[in-house]
């Protein structure tokens, strides 16, 4: 816990964290200082001049709050007429050359200029001379489209590429009101985090080619989630919407602040992985490639299980901890072998030293923690001995060529319990659709041994069962969430302290001592 200090805002004493600048310190207690260029991940630049405040201690009449550290006893002046006038005046300068194209701007609804106009301005334009014209819909590469006229030249995008990705593709060129953000000729954005500039942009200057013109942001529901694109488990906001007569569809993932995991950012691949939640899904149950009801297929599965001499159960490294223990209990009850073999989920050398990991699965640490065998030998031996394979959403096509897989499973019946339609479901004798990670709640452990819980974000029209539910229908004894959680506690002692819904939102760092994780 950071030290607390007391200072005065508009004469009222408030307690804030020390060591922060005024925007963050005062912002944390709910008092807004308007700003465009400052971003906590990128530091203070001081160019927008929206955050000018008065400090009553004899220093220069105005200081940028972003560059002023909070100090005990400081008297910050925010609501004085002359400060309010500055906020209004600076905003007017930001707006005079800004196109009034909010009706067709993707940022509308989450735009700082719009918000500040409503809070600090609300007067008619006094601009009676022609506006400055600049470049429109410029393709900056990496799926980023730039509008120089909307840009307020806060430089967040430029600083992101210099300081975070250290690739430096963006720069500010020219002077005066001709100043603009641009790429170097023929050298577009080419880093794997480029789309973060779209989130960083306080206005609609940076837009995502993928999201442009798809949805008005105020129609979308927002739900927190954890990206399953790799073992980092970046926290995300899932923006989704159920349009009239249509299904609940995800339109974008955006990074959600978690200092312990991903900070403010996420990679582009993870960001665009929302598409796999919408598309390519297994939507109906199949028995011998014929569409049947889930109950019919489950009944057939039960018969197969009873008939089978030896069963091999295989699990996905993306399964939640709850799913893993439920299926593990099923395997123990059926005397089945259990494997989490999933070498195909590794993309060796793909990771970097920032967020992207080689391992493209979300919960391999969970598999390991529960002592589930992940070896290739173990898996192949089990498959060869078995007369029935029950595959819980493990995309084996990542680990095997089609011919290899067919050869391996030639003699064996396959039950595929899958969120997506793929070769495995195509080969299966019985296929049962299940929810994908945006459609159920659960916990996963990331590559840094941080346990994170996520909630159910999406409810499809045709609500699919979670793997836990299917495992129970097939005979798993862990029938309730409480039972699963108490089973998990056997493996993860740190969970002993918590109720399932009381796990810290920022995640539980299993590397730390348990005491450190007890929230006050």
């Amino acid at each position: 816990m950071a030290d607390k200090i007391n200072l005065f805002v508009n004469g009222v004493e408030v307690e804030v964290e020390s060591g922060k600048n005024l925007i963050d310190a005062i912002g944390a207690v709910g008092i807004e200082i308007p700003h465009l260029c400052y971003h906590p991940a990128l530091g203070a630049d001081g160019n927008c001049r929206m955050c000018l405040v008065g400090i009553e201690d004899g220093r220069p009449p105005l200081v940028p709050a972003c560059k002023t550290p909070a100090q005990a006893g400081m008297k910050v002046l925010l609501d004085a007429a002359h400060i309010k006038k500055i906020q209004h005046d600076v905003l007017e300068f930001e707006l005079i050359n800004h196109p009034t194209d909010c009706p067709v701007c993707d940022q509308a609804g989450e735009c700082k200029l719009q918000d500040y106009y409503m809070s600090y301005d609300q007067v008619e334009s006094r601009m009676t001379v022609p506006q400055v014209t600049k470049g429109k819909k410029m393709d900056f590469g990496a799926g980023v489209v730039h509008d120089q006229e909307r840009c307020v030249v806060c430089g967040r995008c430029v600083r992101f590429c210099r300081e975070i990705t250290k690739t430096g593709e963006l720069g500010i060129i020219n002077r005066t009101d001709d100043t603009r953000v641009n790429i170097f000729p023929g050298r577009p954005l080419s880093n794997r985090y480029a789309l973060n500039v779209v989130d960083l942009c306080p206005v609609g200057a940076m837009t995502s080619k993928d999201f442009r013109f798809k949805q008005r942001v105020w129609f979308m529901k927002k739900a927190p989630g954890v990206c399953h694109g790799c073992s980092k488990g970046c926290n995300i906001t899932i923006d989704h919407n159920r349009e009239k007569y249509k299904d609940d569809v995800i339109y974008r993932f955006r990074p959600l602040l978690n200092e312990q995991v991903n900070g403010y950012f996420m990679c582009d691949e993870g960001r665009l992985s929302y598409k796999a939640e919408n598309d390519g899904r297994l939507s109906e149950a199949r028995l011998s490639k014929q569409i049947r009801s889930i109950d019919d297929v489950l009944a057939a599965c039960t018969k197969e299980i009873e008939r089978a001499e030896k069963i091999a159960i295989v699990l996905s490294p993306n399964c939640s901890l709850e799913q893993l223990v439920t299926v593990k209990a099923l395997a123990e009850k059926l005397g089945a072998s259990l494997s989490g073999y999933s070498d195909g989920y590794f993309k060796k050398g793909d990771g970097d030293d920032y967020l992207i990991q080689d391992d493209k699965s979300a919960n391999r640490a969970g598999l390991t923690l529960l002592g589930i065998d992940c070896s290739k030998d173990g898996f192949e031996k089990a498959v060869q001995e078995a007369s029935l394979i029950i595959n819980f959403n493990n995309d084996l096509t990542l680990s095997y060529q089609e011919s290899e897989l067919k050869k391996l499973c030639k003699e064996t019946k396959i039950i595929a319990i899958s969120s997506h339609d793929n070769l495995c479901t195509g080969m299966a004798d019985m296929a049962i659709p299940v929810a994908s990670y945006s459609e159920y709640a659960g916990s996963i452990i990331n590559c840094d041994n941080i346990l994170q819980r996520f909630v159910k974000a999406i409810t499809k029209n045709d609500n699919l069962a979670d793997i836990c539910e299917i495992a129970v229908r097939l005979g798993s004894p862990l029938q309730s969430d409480e039972e699963r959680f108490s089973e998990l506690k056997q493996f993860i002692s740190a969970l002993g302290e918590f109720q399932p819904d009381k796990i810290p939102a920022a995640g539980l760092n299993l590397n730390d001592s348990e005491a450190a994780n007890v929230t006050a």
């Binding site: 927008c48 001049r49 105005l62 300068f93 009676t128 001379v129 400055v132 307020v152 002077r175 009101d177």
Partner: protein, 424 residues
């Protein structure tokens, strides 16, 4: 009225060559300096009352005293030769006619502040000057006045000339440092001030050419000899560039404190062609204009200028005769400062462009009283809200023209605006 302190060698043929310069006393103060303690040199300069000649007039010795002690970091000296304020043409004379006085000053200052690296930032357009300066520096290296052992003393000093690329804003000290470091020349937000974290994050002193070139005289003759010139608070001499509508425009070295109108009449020959005086820009284009009535009581020193709500600035005096159209002048002024705005911070970037369009509208005859009042209001809205004072360099003079010559602006908009006719 003229004196010869800084300009002592200006009339000597080939004084830019080290041999001639030495014959006339160049580098003669070094033995004396190196015999002193650095802090005594600072004290001497403090006592002389020498003020920064870049425009702000901050006492040089006091500035040097701001350097933090014992940081373990190198200390840099940056000499500001960007001289880009319109109507200013003083440093260029030193650079071409007497560069060795400046180099001698650099050695004195470097010894006082404990710096071993000097960067001279010279404006890109100064091609003749940069050649002369570099030739002088090369000579000084050859003669042992720069390099590992300055004048045989155990003191190392390297001097690097850095040419600007033509940006006015690079005369602002932190933009200058950014430019030397190889980045886009735009001012840094302060604090930290350069004395604490300047060039490459190290303590840095930035002084104007004329300030540095004033040092040898002070060392040679002492603080009192320097204070014998000028006024109590503005001691010494200054190179004034007098231009505009006078009979004898030119660069004149004068002690501070002389009456402005007397200087214009006696030194510069008075307003040309027998015309009437309309206004005086006292210290470069960024200083508020003075009306003839106001000018009567103005003397050429920092205090008198401040009392008359203008600034001493760079000593670039522009005399305006009765034929000058102040609306055109203001358009010219805004055009320049808008063009030179670095574009970093919002009020200056957007505001000066807006002001330029408004003044153009007024000039074209399409303006109304609303535009005149808006122009005046924008001066207030922009000024002092910005990272540096470039915007103030525009808004301060523009406000002065709008206030002192309002009727001329009103005249331009009268035909469109009946309310303006009444205002007139």
């Amino acid at each position: 009225m003229e004196v010869k302190i800084l300009s002592a060698k200006f009339d000597i043929k080939d004084a830019h060559k080290i041999k001639v310069a030495k014959e006339h006393g160049a580098y003669s103060t070094l033995d004396k300096v190196f015999a002193m303690k650095p802090e005594d040199v600072i004290e001497l300069v403090k006592n002389s009352g020498l003020r920064g000649r870049g425009g702000a007039g901050f006492p040089a010795g006091v500035k040097w005293g701001f350097l933090p002690k014992g940081t373990g970091k190198p200390v840099y000296l940056a000499v500001n030769s960007d001289e880009s304020e319109p109507a200013t043409f003083k440093d260029r004379y030193i650079l071409v006619k007497d560069p060795h006085s400046m180099i001698e000053g650099i050695i004195i200052c470097s010894y006082a502040i404990g710096s071993h690296d000097t960067y001279i930032y010279i404006r890109g357009e100064y091609t003749t000057q940069v050649k002369a300066l570099q030739a002088a520096i090369d000579e000084a290296y050859k003669e042992g006045y720069l390099g590992d052992k300055v004048a045989g003393h155990d003191f190392k000093l390297n001097v690097t000339v850095h040419r600007g690329a033509g940006a006015y804003v690079c005369g602002e000290e932190t933009a200058l440092l950014e430019s030397v470091e190889g980045r886009k020349g735009q001012p840094r937000s302060k604090p930290p001030f350069p004395a604490v974290a300047g060039l490459y994050g190290c303590p840095t002193i930035i002084n104007n050419v004329q300030t540095i070139a004033s040092l040898p005289f002070i060392i040679a003759n002492g603080a009192d000899a320097y204070k014998a010139y000028g006024t109590e608070k503005s001691p010494g001499t200054h190179l004034f560039g007098i231009s505009g509508h006078v009979e004898k425009p030119g660069m004149y070295e004068l002690p501070l404190g002389l009456p402005l109108l007397e200087v214009i009449d006696k030194v510069a020959g008075g307003v040309w062609k027998g015309r009437k005086l309309k206004g005086i820009i006292p210290g470069g284009s960024s200083t508020p204009v003075l009306l003839p009535e106001e000018a009567k009581t103005v003397t050429l020193d920092y205090e008198s200028m401040a009392e008359h709500k203008t600034m001493f600035g760079s000593g670039g005096i522009v005399v305006l005769d009765e034929t000058v159209d102040m609306v055109h002048l203001v358009k010219n002024l805004i055009d320049f400062y808008h063009h030179e705005s670095c574009g970093q911070c919002t009020p200056c970037r957007e505001g000066l462009g807006w002001m330029l369009k408004i003044i153009k509208k007024i000039l074209s005859g399409d303006g109304t009283m609303v535009d005149v009042d808006l122009l005046r209001e924008l001066c207030d809205n922009i000024e002092m809200k910005t990272v540096c004072v470039l915007s103030a360099a525009c808004t301060m003079p523009v406000r002065s023209y709008l206030d002192k010559f309002r009727h001329e602006f009103v005249a331009y908009v009268t035909k469109n605006d009946s309310s303006a006719a009444e205002a007139k």
